[in-house]
């Protein structure tokens, strides 16, 4: 067993973990934070995406013990006392979710994408979320949600967000 110290959404955590425990299980089972989903469990779908020191990561393919000393953000850490994170607001306004299963991973991936490039083109957004699958195939509204959040983060007027229902 390994004693590890890490932060989740700003809160210090200490855990005793077996070497083979995966980060996604540490978050969901040990910490009971079930916003981080397990989809494919083979690092293909991105439902388990979290941020590790600000970098988007597939938590099903990282060992819990590798989180030692790291700062982790999950979907539970996006909103603050002031309200929703711009990406959450974007998903709400653009109706960027149907079943919602991919949503936490999509949003965390989008947070890093916008952090590096606050004004991405549509193509850059689509490449940027290429590691996240939405099996409801609602990508058009997800792209709009990210564009909305980008505008909000840049302090610009947010685009009108007529959701597409197709």
């Amino acid at each position: 067993m390994h004693e590890i110290k890490f932060k989740v959404n700003g809160v210090e955590q200490i855990a005793s973990v077996e070497s083979r425990l995966l980060l996604v299980h540490l978050i969901r089972e040990n910490l009971s934070m079930t916003g981080t989903h397990i989809g494919c469990d083979t690092s293909s779908c991105g439902a388990c995406t979290v941020l590790i020191d600000g970098k988007s990561a597939k938590a099903c393919t990282i060992l819990a013990v590798q989180a030692n000393g790291k700062d982790i953000t999950t979907v539970e850490g996006l909103a603050t006392a002031e309200g929703l994170h711009p990406i959450q607001e974007g998903f709400k306004e653009a109706h960027a979710l149907q079943c919602g299963f991919c949503t936490p991973g999509m949003m965390l991936r989008a947070v890093e994408l916008l952090e590096k490039n606050p004004n991405p083109t549509e193509e850059e957004i689509r490449w940027g979320i290429s590691g996240n699958l939405c099996r409801c195939t609602g990508y058009n509204n997800i792209v709009k949600a990210i564009q909305y959040a980008g505008a909000k983060i840049r302090g610009e007027e947010v685009p009108s967000t007529e959701p597409e229902f197709v």
């Binding site: 390994h2 077996e18 070497s19 083979r20 425990l21 995966l22 299980h25 469990d41 083979t42 690092s43 293909s44 991105g46 995406t49 970098k55 988007s56 990561a57 597939k58 393919t61 990282i62 060992l63 013990v65 590798q66 030692n68 991936r109 890093e112 994408l113 490449w127 940027g128 979320i129 290429s130 590691g131 996240n132």
Partner: protein
């Protein structure tokens, strides 16, 4: 899916890592980015008794031109290649390849050293290294040695890196003068292995003739393949459409792809021909 049990250690120095590898023997594996190894462990295709995590060892991640070489540290992540100024300005082959390797989250962790040390002809960097004429630095407890990429791959998942050794760096001749490079792979979807991939590096003389050519092929041969006859067919020519087509034809003939779910052998040979032709032209246009 959960891996079988194993012991985990994260040494802080290269010497400590080498000592642990020596102590644990042949059932120990090195954990770099982990995005090939951990999925294999979850599927129980690999069950190492010990993992030696080398992520805490400083000094293994860098990209620099020095002494006529481009040096890349083994633990340099794909995302760092993608974002590096010198790579973006001069070594377009890495920008082409990185964009097509797995997906953004995986590229945040996957390393160039791991991609090569994994010894899988389906990975993309081996062909890139062949095109650039790279050498691989292998370190053990007695020191380091440089191995040509042409002598690095032994077979499926086996390379010149022996028990108790770590791949620590890569170096390739710095691109100078009229040089251009390119890479493309045909993939069915993001994250898939290549149906076929081709890496090209071309250097031209002042009179427009081809001075040197490097061509590497991905996932169309049991080992990463240097398309030698194609390279020879280009050197000294004026790189006319006819010269390029001949080189592309040789690449299609000299590889040895399998029929599989990505396509038939004949289809893959056709794709090798098409991509080789396009990548030679792209490399020339960048020279």
């Amino acid at each position: 899916m959960i891996p079988e049990g194993f012991e985990y250690a994260a040494p802080a120095t290269l010497n400590d890592a080498l000592a642990l590898l020596a102590e644990y023997g042949e059932d120990a594996k090195i954990l770099a980015g982990g995005h090939s190894l951990i999925p294999m462990m979850k599927l129980r295709f690999a069950s190492p008794t010990h993992l030696v995590d080398i992520n805490n060892i400083p000094g293994l991640s860098y990209i620099k031109e020095e002494g006529g070489y481009l040096h890349i540290g083994a633990m340099t992540k794909e995302v760092e290649l993608e974002e590096s100024r010198i790579i973006r300005d001069k070594y377009h082959i890495f920008t082409d390849a990185s964009k097509l390797i797995a997906d953004p989250q995986v590229r945040n962790f996957g390393t160039i050293g791991g991609n090569i040390a994994h010894g899988d002809a389906a990975n993309d960097h081996p062909a890139v290294m062949i095109a650039l004429g790279a050498e691989v630095e292998i370190t053990n407890s007695t020191g380091s040695r440089w191995v040509s990429i042409d002598e690095f791959f032994y077979g499926f998942y086996t390379t010149a890196v022996q028990q108790g050794e770590i791949l620590t760096a890569l170096r390739m001749p710095a691109l100078n003068g009229k040089s251009g490079t390119s890479y493309h792979k045909l993939e069915r979807k993001v994250g898939d292995y290549a149906t076929a991939g081709v890496a090209v590096a071309i250097t031209m003389n002042d009179d427009g003739t081809c001075k040197s050519a490097g061509i590497g092929l991905t996932n169309v041969n049991p080992l990463p393949l240097r398309a030698k006859r194609s390279e020879e067919a280009l050197v000294g020519t004026r790189l006319t459409d006819e010269d390029i087509l001949r080189a592309a034809q040789y690449a299609a003939e000299d590889c040895s792809p399998n029929d599989d779910l990505r396509g038939s052998e004949a289809f893959k040979r056709d794709m090798v021909k098409v991509i080789t032709k396009r990548m030679i032209k792209k490399a020339i246009s960048r020279a």
